[in-house]
Symmetry: C2
Subunit: 296 residues, 2 copies
DNA sequence: CCTGACTATCGAATATTTCGATCTTAAATA
DNA sequence: TATTTAAGATCGAAATATTCGATAGTCAGG
C-alpha cells in the first residue's frame, strides 16, 4: 500500500471519477485505473463498484477514505512542520578541558541561558584525546580543545584562536622582572603543572623533550584555579594560559616570566564533526561563542 | 514520501542499523541506504547522522519516527479491519413492485429486522423498467421483479420462481366452478387490472394481443389489495398472482377461474447487478430471502 | 444514429527500485 | 601490529514497477 495510491484514491473518492482525478493529478486515466486496481488487489477488496462506467464507493472504500485522510493529514502535518522554523530547544553536549569549562560557565553560559532558556546544555570535561574520541562516537556535539593546532578533514573548526600563554610565578619571585630569561635558567626550579599527557601540558613536555630539557614538577593537578592559588603562596613556576592567570596578574600577586627561547603555540579550538547535523540550538550556541571573546 | 520508505525508516530507527534493518526486511543493505537517502532528499533534511558508520537519529529524524509510527498504526489498523468480519450493518435499498413490497414487509421484513436489527432497509416501489434502470445506475441494491422471465448477463439472479397466477373473480360469480373455460368466454366481462404497461399486466396484455383478443378493463389500479377487495364486492374478473388473492380465496370470498387457453408465465426474480459488491448485510438479506418461501 | 463521456485493458516506453560488487573506515581480534 | 570483521556509501546493471497512449466497450444525450 503506497502513499501515492492512497492519495490518488482520496481524490478519486472525492471527485467520484477516475477521469477527473487523472486531470487533477496530472496522470492519464489508465494510470488511475491501474492505481486503484492495485490498491484493491493489495487490500483484497473492492473499493469502488463500477456500474455503467460510474463509480460508487463500497463500504470498504468508505472506510478507507477515512483512514487515507488521516494518513494524508499526518504526512501533510509533518511536511508542514519541516518548513517551519526549527524550535530553539533541545540538548547540546559540550566537552571541554576543566579550565575552559569553568570559564565558559562563568563568563558565557549564564548569559547564553538568559537569552535561550529552553536550550539545555550539558558540560563535560575531558582531555583532548577523549574529546576527539567523543566527537568520533557522536557523544559530544562540540568540543573545545586547548592543545596544539589541530586540523583534520573529518572535523569542522568553528572558531580558533591562538591562546596566549606565559610562564608565571609569584610576583615576589627572584625571577620577577628579569628580561630575556632562558628556559634553562628556570628548569631546575620547582614546577606546578597540569596533568601529564593532557592538552597544553603535553605540548609543553614535547617542546622540552625537543630541547632535551627535563623538568620535574613538584605538583601536578588539573584544576588551574588551584595551581594559581598555590603559585600565589609559593615560589613555584607554572606554564599557563593568560586567561587563567589574568585575575592574579591584575591583582599583582603573580607575574609573567620573560622566557624567550620557548615559543609554544597553543590554540583554543571549537570543533565539531563534519557529519554533525547542526540543530538550530547547536548553531545558535556556536554563533554565540563565535561572537563572544573566545579567549577569555 | 512512500510508505515503503517510511516503514523501512521506522525499522532502521528502531534497530539503529541499516544492516540489521536490511536483514529484517529482506532487503540488501544498499537498498536501505538508498531508501533513507531518498526520504532525506525528499524531506530536505538529514534523518540520521552518520559518524563512523554509526547512525544516530537527528532531531528531525526523531520527529519523523513519531509520525511514521502513527502512519503505520493507521495502515495496520485498516488492514486489520479488513481481515475482521465485516460488520452486519449498513443500508440496503430494495426495489419491488407495490404488491411484493407489501407482502415482503408483512411476512419477511419484521422477522428479518428482529434477527438483524442493525441492518437498515429502504423499500421502494417501481415498475420493472424503472427497477432495471435503477440497477443500472446503482440506485438499487436488489430488485424483485414480477414479470416475464428475465435474463441478462449483466445481472445476477439470486433467486427465481415461477409465480402461480389465476384469473380470479367473486366466489358467487356465474363462472365459479365452471371447468375448461376459454379466455374468449370471459373477454367481454368487466375486468379490473393492475396498471397498464407494468409487470405481469404487460405480459398479460402481450399474450392477449397474440390471440387478437381485446379486453377493456373497467378499473386499473396498482394496489392489489384494493383490487381484491373490489372483486369481493362485485362480479369483476382479474388476473393476479396467487399470493395476492390467497387470503380471499381461503376465506371463500373469491374463486379461481379455470381458463385453459392462457398459459402465462410470470416469474418472481430477485436480481442484482453483476458488479454489485455484496456487503455482508446484502448477502445476509439475499440468503434470508433464499431460505424463506419466496412465493408467498 | 452519432457523439461525447467514462472506465477497462494492453503493449510499449519510461522510471524506479533493488541487488551485487566494491570501497572506505573503524573496531575487534589474533 | 597485522588481520579480520562489521558498518555504511557508492555505482552500474538488472529487475521490477509505473505510466502512457491507443483502443475497446458502454451508456447517455442530442
Amino acid at each position: 500500500m503506497e502513499l501515492r495510491n492512497l492519495i490518488t484514491f482520496t481524490h478519486v473518492a472525492e471527485l467520484g471519477s477516475f477521469t477527473k482525478a487523472a486531470e487533477l493529478l496530472g496522470y492519464s486515466q489508465s494510470t488511475i485505473s491501474f492505481q486503484i486496481k492495485q490498491l484493491e488487489e493489495e487490500l483484497g477488496c473492492l473499493l469502488f463498484e463500477r456500474i455503467n462506467h460510474t463509480i460508487t464507493l463500497t463500504q470498504r472504500g468508505r472506510e478507507l477514505v477515512s483512514y487515507a485522510h488521516q494518513v494524508r493529514m499526518l504526512t501533510d502535518e509533518f511536511k508542514e512542520s519541516l518548513t517551519q522554523e526549527e524550535e530553539l530547544s533541545g540538548h547540546i553536549h559540550i566537552v571541554t578541558p576543566d579550565s575552559v569549562c569553568e570559564e565558559m560557565i562563568h563568563s558565557h553560559y549564564i548569559d547564553f541561558h538568559r537569552k535561550y532558556p529552553s536550550v539545555s546544555i550539558r558540560f563535560t570535561t575531558a582531555d583532548t584525546a577523549d574529546m576527539i574520541d567523543m566527537l568520533d562516537h557522536n557523544e559530544a556535539d562540540v568540543i573545545i580543545t586547548l592543545d596544539s593546532h589541530t586540523y583534520d578533514r573529518d572535523y569542522v573548526i568553528a572558531k580558533e584562536e591562538r591562546l596566549p600563554m606565559h610562564f608565571v610565578t609569584n610576583a615576589n619571585s627572584r625571577f620577577a622582572g628579569r628580561k630575556n630569561l632562558s628556559i634553562r635558567d628556570i628548569a631546575s626550579e620547582p614546577f606546578i603543572l597540569t596533568e601529564y599527557g593532557q592538552g597544553y601540558r603535553r605540548v609543553f613536555d614535547r617542546e622540552l623533550a625537543k630541547k632535551s630539557i627535563g623538568i620535574t614538577p613538584v605538583l601536578e593537578i588539573g584544576r588551574t584555579d588551584i595551581i594559581t592559588s598555590v603559585l600565589a603562596q609559593s615560589d613555584m613556576i607554572s606554564f599557563l594560559p593568560d586567561f587563567v592567570t589574568k585575575p592574579m596578574i591584575d591583582a599583582g600577586k603573580l607575574c609573567y616570566l620573560d622566557i624567550c627561547d620557548m615559543n609554544i603555540e597553543i590554540w583554543k579550538q571549537l570543533i565539531y564533526h563534519k557529519n554533525k547535523w547542526l540543530s538550530k540550538s547547536l548553531k545558535t550556541f556556536i554563533d554565540y561563542i563565535g561572537k563572544t571573546e573566545f579567549v577569555g
